[in-house]
């Protein structure tokens, strides 16, 4: 009996081994610690690191919930965790609209190139549109230094829906814009963004639980600008990888999604 996907040699090998040297993992969307609303049994860093090591992750870029909620001011939780544990951990500097201090924040990012890939914008949760003036200095900074921005995006959001992303993408051509959750549910909008802007990447976090969206993206956009993400500790890394392996796309596409695109993106942003 063959499991996960009889038609994929990569799936067969991954299911047997649980970790493949020629298919490491690059996860571009993670978090850390507890957050209101849900119980996260792997909220602390140790169980997350255990999974990352077991599955052969080369990079796991996250933003701490403590930073996202502002319960601990500044971005110290993400930064200190990355400094303490090192690879494969990487971070996003969380831009908090009501705590924004662009000169200090941008210097922190520049001073820690081993940690930060760029910024994380959580417009929906912070009630702030991506194109709001308070974010503008950060977009200018990311554009100037050719870094990445992970944006939480969601279907009909007035803060980080497809039109908000489009507004930013039209203005900033040198930021690598990671469309977190692919404007969830508005799959056609995500396709259009990726087609219209070469610096837009579709982050599959929380997309893989709806079977079919991934196949649609590969069919209509190609697999070269799809990034793997889990939201860990929310969602299981092995579950996410299993969804990619099960999907009705080629093994070459799977390699692109799980690691090759991530390797390329890190080179583009010089990280």
């Amino acid at each position: 009996m063959k499991y996960v996907n009889r038609d994929s040699k990569l799936a067969q090998r991954f299911y047997e081994a649980g970790c493949l040297e020629d298919c490491p993992l690059y996860d571009f969307h993670g978090h850390l610690h507890e957050v209101g609303g849900n119980y996260l049994p792997a909220g602390n860093i140790e169980p997350m690191l255990d999974t990352l090591h077991r599955i052969g992750a080369k990079s796991f870029a996250f933003s701490s919930h403590f930073s996202l909620t502002g319960v601990i001011t500044g971005d110290m939780d993400t930064l200190s965790t990355c400094k303490q544990y090192g690879a494969p951990l990487r971070g996003y500097f969380v831009v908090m609209p009501f705590l924004a201090n662009p000169p200090v924040d941008c210097k922190t990012i520049l001073d820690n190139p081993d940690v930060y890939l760029g910024c994380k914008f959580l417009g929906d949760y912070h009630g702030t549109p991506l194109e709001a003036p308070v974010y503008a200095p950060y977009w200018e900074f990311l554009n100037e230094h050719k870094l990445a921005a992970l944006c939480h995006t969601w279907g009909d959001s007035p803060f980080d829906g497809s039109e908000n992303v489009r507004h930013i993408a039209e203005q900033y051509h040198d930021v690598q814009i990671l469309v977190g959750h692919c404007v969830h549910g508005r799959w056609d909008d995500a396709v259009a963004l990726a087609k219209d802007f070469p610096n837009v990447w579709l982050d599959l976090t929380a997309v893989l639980d709806d079977r079919g969206a991934l196949e649609k993206f590969v069919r209509e956009v190609g697999s070269e600008r799809l990034l793997f993400g889990t939201d860990m500790p929310w969602f299981s890394t092995y579950q996410g990888v299993g969804c990619v392996l099960d999907a009705e796309i080629s093994d070459e596409d799977k390699h692109n999604i799980l690691h090759k695109n991530g390797e390329r993106l890190l080179k583009i942003i010089n990280r």
């Binding site: 499991y3 996960v4 299911y15 849900n38 119980y39 639980d209 969602f235 299981s236 579950q239 969804c243």
Partner: protein
Amino acid sequence: MIFYDAHLTYGAATKLNVPLPKPNVFLPMLEDELDRTGVTGGLVYNVATDYAGVVVGNSVLANDLKTARHDLYGVYTLVPSYTGELSCANDLYDVMKATKMGALRMNPKAHAHLPRAGALSDYLSMALECKIPVILDTACGITAEECYDLMCAYPTLHAILSVDATWPTDRMVRPFLAQFPNLHYDISHMITEHGLESLVSFCGAKRLLFASDYPSRYIGGQQMMLKFSLLSESEKNLIAGENLLRLIKEARL
């Protein structure tokens, strides 16, 4: 591991807002997908039942199962007996046995009946007596609160709870597992990192059922999550399929 999937559907109308690669309109198409992913059997119903009607839906399912693989069991959809559309509670066990049905389900919203124990009390009493699993799925027109009330009315019912929420639901699900000893939890929507390990430490492995909600969700994701969990091999085997087979066996269906 031998996988039995406690949450499978087929039929023409799946979730229309999701771009499924291909809908599995007919049962043999679902069986092809089970072969592709290495699933031996499980519980299945035809989604058309919820818009075409329970009489024709149950009948089509029974007919399709005649030529299906041995390890695929149907799920019979209930509506209250007061309208006389389905077999009465006294006859239903024999009907289920004759048509290879392994469990009961309901969709109060789709079929416009009260999501209360009292509306289905004759069938639920029969299910309790015969140890027939009753599926309570929050995606099927019954809320978690209504599931809880129903279980309070039948606390020893052999039930399978499915919570249609991708975000972690431990705070909602664990009271069910703690208070209702014969309730099992379908993990089709449980994809939390270290979630399986945490749940097993809470209630043991015998209460969890491998499930995918295919074709809406990927079977391979759940397989990888279970295989590479930090559970023992015996715990994984229970969840993968042994628990579901035990449930069906206990009902002698």
